[in-house]
Amino acid sequence: MASPRLENYLRTYRKRSGLTQREVAFLLGSKNGAQLSRYEKQRRLPPLRTALAFEAIFKIPLAELFAGLRESVGREISGRIEKLDADVQAHNNSKRQTRLNARKRSWIAEHHGPDFSSNT
């Protein structure tokens, strides 16, 4: 079975590029590589601006750079989508509400797979 992905692959892509932490820190606009080291060791999460800067530096999509984090967020969202879907299904008080809920459920089925909203 494949191992769960690491939270981020910043070190992997940096080492593949041959750049040092100090050089990447320079590209990020930091004074030194200390904060980058924390990001690489998964001790700190970079702010959105820095995360986008990583994407721009390594030319790798954020979802791939932060693969493990993306997966865990995806799992959390899937759980909540399931709950939301059940909630929407349970609340069909008026005709208008029914139409609105049907729209929501079809959107969920379209964007989050047919597993949800399958029993409409």
């Binding site: 079975m1 494949a2 191992s3 692959y9 070190r11 992997t12």
Partner: protein
């Protein structure tokens, strides 16, 4: 179902005063590599062997820790310390025998530099750390340990792939 070549492994090449490591995501991808010293005596390093291995295990959470069969008593003792760390993290340890290593690099096994060059060809990201060919009067470059660790990892995957069909029988 995905096979053993999909595992994340930590391959180590242990020397009496240092070790080199390589982290594989699967048999075709290396995530990280490097060398760590744990020399003692007057110039002892601040962080000893145990915590250095533990840090790697903690950071990469490998499924298997792969080591080369120890040839000397000192290395055997060092491997005991590494095994203890792996046990604490509940990570199984696999030992690759010299025979498996030789069989994996059949055709390239004329000398270590040729094996390292073959590895650098397979993993181009390691090309920039390939040390120049050693002169007979020079000692071995520390980076050669990284290539030895990669060789251990490749041999492990080769061994697992050949053995896994028989395990399912």
């Amino acid at each position: 179902m995905e096979g053993p070549e999909q595992q994340r492994i930590l391959a180590l090449d242990v020397r009496p005063r240092s070790f080199a490591f390589v982290v594989f995501e699967d048999s075709r991808q290396v995530l990280d590599w490097g060398a760590r010293s744990f020399r003692g005596g007057v110039n002892a390093v601040r962080i000893p062997l145990g915590p250095k291995v533990a840090r790697l295990l903690d950071e990469y959470v490998p499924e298997v820790l792969v080591l080369k069969y120890p040839q000397t008593k000192t290395v055997k003792q060092i491997i005991q310390v590494i095994r203890k760390q792996a046990r604490a993290y509940k990570i199984p340890v696999r030992i690759v025998s010299p025979r498996v290593l030789q069989e994996t690099f059949i055709g390239h096994n004329r000398n270590k530099h040729q094996i390292a060059s073959a590895i650098a060809e397979r993993f181009p990201e390691l090309l920039y750390i390939l040390p120049p060919k050693r002169k007979p009067w020079q000692s071995e470059d520390y980076r050669m340990g990284i290539f030895d660790a990669v060789a251990v990892g490749i041999a492990y995957f080769a061994q697992e792939v050949t053995e896994s069909p028989s395990q399912t029988d």
